[in-house]
Symmetry: C2
Amino acid sequence: MPKNAFYAQSGGVTAVINASACGVIETARQHPNDISNVYAGRNGIIGALTEDLIDTSAESDEAIAALRYTPSGAFGSCRYKLKSLEENRREYERLIEVFKAHDIGYFFYNGGGDSADTCYKISQLSETMGFPVKAIHVPKTVDNDLPITDNCPGFGSVAKYIAVSTREASYDVRSMAKTSTKVFVIEVMGRHAGWIAAAGGLASDAENDIPVLILFPEIEFDKEQFLAKVKAKVEEYEYCSVVVSEGAKWPNGTFLAEQGTRDAFGHAQLGGAAPVVANMVKEAMGYKFHWAVADYLQRAARHLASKTDVDQAYATGKAAVEYAISGENSIMPTIVRTSNDPYTWEIGKAPLSEVANVEKFMPREFITEDGFGITQACRDYLVPLIQGEDFPPFDKGMPKYVTLMNEPVAKKLNIAFEL
Amino acid sequence: MPKNAFYAQSGGVTAVINASACGVIETARQHPNDISNVYAGRNGIIGALTEDLIDTSAESDEAIAALRYTPSGAFGSCRYKLKSLEENRREYERLIEVFKAHDIGYFFYNGGGDSADTCYKISQLSETMGFPVKAIHVPKTVDNDLPITDNCPGFGSVAKYIAVSTREASYDVRSMAKTSTKVFVIEVMGRHAGWIAAAGGLASDAENDIPVLILFPEIEFDKEQFLAKVKAKVEEYEYCSVVVSEGAKWPNGTFLAEQGTRDAFGHAQLGGAAPVVANMVKEAMGYKFHWAVADYLQRAARHLASKTDVDQAYATGKAAVEYAISGENSIMPTIVRTSNDPYTWEIGKAPLSEVANVEKFMPREFITEDGFGITQACRDYLVPLIQGEDFPPFDKGMPKYVTLMNEPVAKKLNIAFEL
């Protein structure tokens, strides 16, 4: 007898998380003997806890296909970390109750490290509670910090956006440097790992000799050395671009972004790392500067997604369903790089017990010895991930993204649940 | 006898100023009986003053064609405003001397209001100095503030970038609003006129009901009213996007960006309007926020250029050459809107005497009565300008922009010139 599937999006959304949703739902629709319907959690796992499920069967094939090129989380996502089993067993039990009420046999959880952990716990608990569901984690994170998988869906598109934006802005600065801006600073995401910042290094290559300095969260910020580097680059090139990770830190562990900036009322102001770095340069060398903070633009920029990333996001969603109906449980589909040049990849799998709560950082050999650039090994790793364009359809000059109807599934439990 | 032409880029560069350069050079190459060679000013007008000319004939047809899809200023631009004739007649005389030495009969100046003024003066002075050059101004400005022309090359692409980015980021915020960010603020360019900010309003349309509030430089900032609007939007939609112009001002004329922010050492910090607005919302309502400052990204984003804008940038460059060789002088090619729906346009011309030193602001009827949105009239004006995509070629995941050789023309004067 076919069972229903539950799908939820977790944590910060990306340009391609809906491509994974598309992979899950389209593949499920191809297997009606195994999966009768996919219910999505409204606002992620909260939707499961509050029995607020979305009936994806109400959406047309066209609408589901459009998820492939629509950024953000079509069903809503959430930042809601389930507590440990010991602390709040009730939450896990509630999930199983909701699954039971809606005849859910498959749990597809699309997220990062925390959600891999949740997914793992559910696979274990559902077993012991006598209502076993196949729990498969679909990888998603712009931070690229999940272990085992070669890379994470979501990352390639941010990497492409930052590489392209840094190149474009550098061309701009280069052409104005004689009389105007000499130093351009762009702040990028990645509070713990410097993967996104590293992508800024791709702005420069054999045909585009662009001076780019990168401030990684993995490298303690050395102000004197940094300023000397900026000075040297400006003297050689007349300008310089700086890519600063939001996670860049002083040796004492304080974020650069928290440099005690105060507003007129004396309130601490979270001003971002970019203006801090830019003002530092101005103060030391007097160079005119400009700075940008890409923020959500970088992870929402579906218009500039990497085709590789879109394909991999879809493929992991598809594989999740295929693994589940073939009987697999408590795993995450992974991306396995089988060749670097030409780049080839295939889908593999990793047990969730080895994925949960493990963070992958930039290897030191991906960062140049001086700490401000990327090595050839890093380029070899990154370049394939930004390959290919996959522009969304445009209408009247704007990308034509889909907004789903998101019709609710009738509730079956008569018990409210306090989050 | 054919004469040489001088071409220079002026002021802040755009995603399509090189498309105008492409139009000038390609058209000049088609008229060898009128124009023997196009010399470009290295770093704009400074190149003419210092006799630092670039020989564009050294560039292949392919390289010149690639200018059409390469952002920024390929020959270098500058922020260098010539003084008035009374204050520094020597500068104008020097220009004429350099033109004379290099047999320049055509002066194509690609810029905004200031350069239109310079171009106008040169057309007049060259006549009285007995070395008449045909001086044609090629319009360029992301600010869209030149008079007479329906719109300015450079603006349509920034408008498209801001409209798309605001839509994409709004999708992101919408999907996270339940537990995370509720208010997203994006800061955009336009110190005097709100044209770019207005484009943020295009994020929302009939198929995309997105709550967007715009803070225009033309409208005095009313904190209480603004906060009430944000609150109402968040209560209705669960989230809200705010597009703030860098030129948004308090009633007393101070920029929002200058809210007395101090760093740890008490130095005034130019932190941008976006964090000021975001913190204001947080303080009043406690909403979680995120903010972005697009800065140069918006005017360098050739990857998302408007095809209409690219076509018009090219067409004005082409028309400049055609007008000049047909004997016109002291004019600027303009874009004339001949129909709104379907959108059609043609090239016209305006005398520089009527262009110089006139700034075009947003008409009040383009802004909604409450001051926070755009009217249908504004949409009707803006939508055609962002029409069409004109993606650059990509190679290994990155746009393949051209960097010219920029070989110098041998100097003929033996006189240095102090800027």
